[in-house]
């Protein structure tokens, strides 16, 4: 054997969850002292792979080598012992502990805390100087910002002598300035000889910081390239792939008047993170507007505001009339009364009550409808008959109104939700991830129903992380990144690579090449140069 062994080598890792192949025969080699990026769409299998490396999952097949040594990692303790440190997307910190206490937790020197704390304090000071990782060791976690909290996670790993550091979507919660600082830290760590694996869906970050990059798609590793020898365009293509577009037969849209107008919509979550920044858009009658974007870039919040599930500031009008964004009329009931129907992103947690019968779910959200009322009671018989009718029309299988929602397959669950919402003949239909976890046959059916509703003159807002779904279904497309709109234009001229760049927060030639598209100033025209 010549040269140094890779810091990490994975050979043929496979992992399945039931019928879903999350990882399929994955092999990577990461050399010591380098930053290796792993990029891929949501659900490509990145997190599963890293969980295997950190001992949370056991791989079905495959081997792991750390510095040339074959290593078995049954739990996180073994991962720590092997020198692997992990910075999770959701931090694993004790909120009311100090930084110092969090750092030593589980890695104390002895039964008493004092010596451990003293050593950790010294060590933290050293690490701060070496890597620009300065954090006040006595600060309490809940009082410091997410950027600082992330540094604590990195310090925790380094304190445990980690020389391989995995970061899962580390910039998802950071401001641009914090992200820049993080990259300086990562750069310093690399110069200090540490090996870093960076999981992200942001092309800009990959181009800016990594030495090599692997692209994952649908559980498989599609390519591993040297960052210097690739381009964002090539990566975007590798990431989304040249998928065969699902064909949806649809006539050209006949847009009417503006139905929905959103102006300067802002949403801040309870942690104070801004989820939507000055979002403005409009949808006309008889038009499908698709919102493209990687999950977590504000699309969910947009749907939730429109569906009455969260409050916001700004202005929304429906057919010219204002919609209440934070008062008494800002709940789902009021929205439905105004003719807004909502197929939520998560049918199991939101769209359905899994323990309810199908017929009870067909009333869900519309249970106060006078049509299903008989005196003080609900008219269950009418509801059951109506459910049977809808099940037949939407080909729900089995067509049994008495079956609990949890006993239907994903596709049939979604058909129940779609039937419920579309059959209300809404003015505006909100649709989130209509075909997530849905079989091919049902996908086509649901798509056709949405198009049919459009052709009846409804306005449709479609949110999906599946780019081909957006492209095949929408008349117009808006791309969101980091709570902002990056670009807006007709679906007919959009292409996957251009959209891929916008979804990663970048502008550039591929995006301006799309005819009829307006590219936001927020989309960086080109890559930021280092230094």
């Amino acid at each position: 054997m010549t040269g140094t062994a890779p810091a990490i080598e994975l050979r043929g890792i496979s992992k399945a969850f039931g019928p879903v192949q999350a990882n399929k025969d994955i092999s990577i080699r990461v050399m010591p002292g380098t930053i290796h990026g792993i990029i891929g769409e949501n659900g490509a299998g990145k997190s599963t792979l890293m969980s295997i490396l950190y001992g949370f999952y056991k791989a079905d097949k495959g081997e792991i080598f750390i510095h040339g040594q074959k290593t078995v990692i049954p739990d996180s303790q073994a991962a720590i012992a092997a020198g692997i440190g992990m910075v999770f997307q959701h931090f694993k910190l004790v909120e009311n502990f100090t930084v110092l206490e969090n750092v030593i937790l589980g890695a104390e020197d002895g039964r008493l805390l004092r010596p451990s704390l003293a050593r950790a304090r010294k060590e933290l000071k050293r690490l701060a100087e070496e890597y620009e990782l300065n954090v006040d060791p006595d600060a309490v976690i809940e009082d410091i910002g997410v950027g600082m909290q992330q540094r604590v996670e990195i310090l925790k790993a380094l304190y445990r002598q980690a020389d391989i550091l995995i970061l899962d979507e580390p910039t998802g919660v950071l401001t641009p300035a914090e992200a820049d600082h993080l990259f300086r830290i990562l750069d310093n760590l690399r110069n200090g000889g540490k090996t870093i694996i960076l999981i992200t869906h942001k092309l800009r970050e990959i181009m800016e910081i990594t030495d090599t990059v692997s692209v994952m798609r649908r559980g498989q590793m599609t390519a591993t390239v040297t960052t210097a020898e690739t381009s964002p365009e090539e990566l975007a293509e590798l990431m989304v792939g040249r998928k065969v577009l699902l064909r949806v037969d649809k006539a050209p849209a006949q847009p009417g008047d503006v139905v929905l107008a959103v102006e300067n919509l802002n949403v801040t979550d309870e942690k104070g993170v801004q989820k939507l920044r000055d979002v403005s858009l409009s949808i006309r009658a008889g038009e499908i507007l698709g919102i493209a974007g990687v999950a977590g870039n504000g699309q969910s919040e947009l749907l939730e505001v429109l569906g009455g599930m969260c409050t916001a500031t700004g202005r929304i009008t429906l057919n010219g009339d204002d919609i209440d964004l934070s008062g008494r009329q800002s709940d789902g009931q009021s929205r439905r009364a105004r003719g807004i129907a909502h197929v939520p992103e998560d049918r199991q947690r939101e769209g359905l009550i899994m323990d309810f019968h199908a017929w009870e779910n067909v009333a869900f959200g519309y249970h106060t409808d006078p049509a299903w009322r008989r005196g003080p009671l609900m008219d269950n018989a009418a509801l059951q008959a109506d459910t049977a009718r809808k099940m037949e029309k939407f080909d729900v299988r089995p067509p049994d109104p008495w079956l609990a929602a949890k006993n239907f397959s994903g596709g049939n669950q979604q058909k129940i939700v779609v039937a419920r919402e579309i059959e209300r003949n809404p003015t505006l239909l909100l649709v989130g991830q209509p075909t997530r976890g849905v079989d091919i046959g049902a996908i086509e059916f649901i798509h056709n129903q949405i198009v049919a509703l459009r052709d009846q003159g409804a306005a449709v807002l479609l949110v999906s992380v599946e780019l081909d779904e957006i492209l095949s279904l929408s008349d117009r497309v808006v791309v969101m990144f980091d709570g902002q709109i990056m670009g807006d234009g007709p679906a007919s001229t959009a292409n996957q690579i251009g959209l891929g760049c916008l979804m990663a927060g970048m502008g550039g030639a591929d995006t301006t090449a799309m005819a009829g598209w307006t590219i936001s100033d927020a989309a960086a025209p080109e890559l930021m140069q280092e230094g």
Partner: protein, 321 residues
Amino acid sequence: MDYMTLLLILDSTVRLGTPLLLACLAGLFSERAGIFDIGLEGKMLAAAFFSGAVAAVSGSVWLGLLAGIGASLVLSALHGLASITFRGNQLISGVAVNFLAAGMTVVIAQDWFHQGGRTPSLMGGGRFTPITLPFAETLQDVPVIGPLYYHLISGHTALVYLAFACVPATWWLLYRTRFGLRLRAVGENPAAVDTAGVSVVGLRYAAVAICGILCGIAGAYLATALQAGFVKDMTAGRGYIALAALIFAKWRPWYALSATMLFGLLQAVALRYQNIDLGSFTIPVQVMDALPYILTVVILAGFVGKAIPPRAGGEPYIKER
């Protein structure tokens, strides 16, 4: 009210506050580790019976104490099994523990002693006797300090001193040792402990066991020190008052001391005076009875000094990715 009366009330406060303090610290360990425990009452009751019974039969209060602790630990193990291993509802488990103790103590007492659910009165070595501290007698006549030392500080049983010693000990264990750090962490964010490679289940069982030991001492104190033997339902809601004190104390050891002594004082005053006459109107004794609970509800409502329970409290830990 003269100085002597005040001293007597305070002395009674200490006696009545001691079981509350022990039970409160017991709850503190359990809840700090994320296991809600409304079964303090039942564990104390079981311990009271078994300590009284064994002390009565063996004549040794120390054997009684051990038996009490053992009985309390058995119930702790049951609570741990339900809430840690089988991830059941911790509140329902606590309710079951309380009823189990309430029923079993009388059933067994009746079977063993045939005295209508009591144990025989304890005598001699079967009870904890007051300890007179050095010089208490000689200093008794020194003004102010003498009576204070003689009546309030000296003359309690060993368990009272033990309970008071438990306060700094608990503080030290929680805030100065590795075990305490991990224990507090597991009640706040078990995932942090788990990813750091420490066993969540092990820590929680340890906490529940400590809770059992302290409840055991509290129960033994009731039957072998405060009173001379076990009577049916002798805890009389003390476990719940301790729970209230725990919330009042915001799950902190020194605050637990103040809260339990405050509640002990309320009991002492209620015992001594039926109604308190404030000239224009009288405070009925029932107000004193209800005050600990009213104060706790006010604290819980968060209008005055919000009490934030350990964040992972009541939630079984299920390992996710």
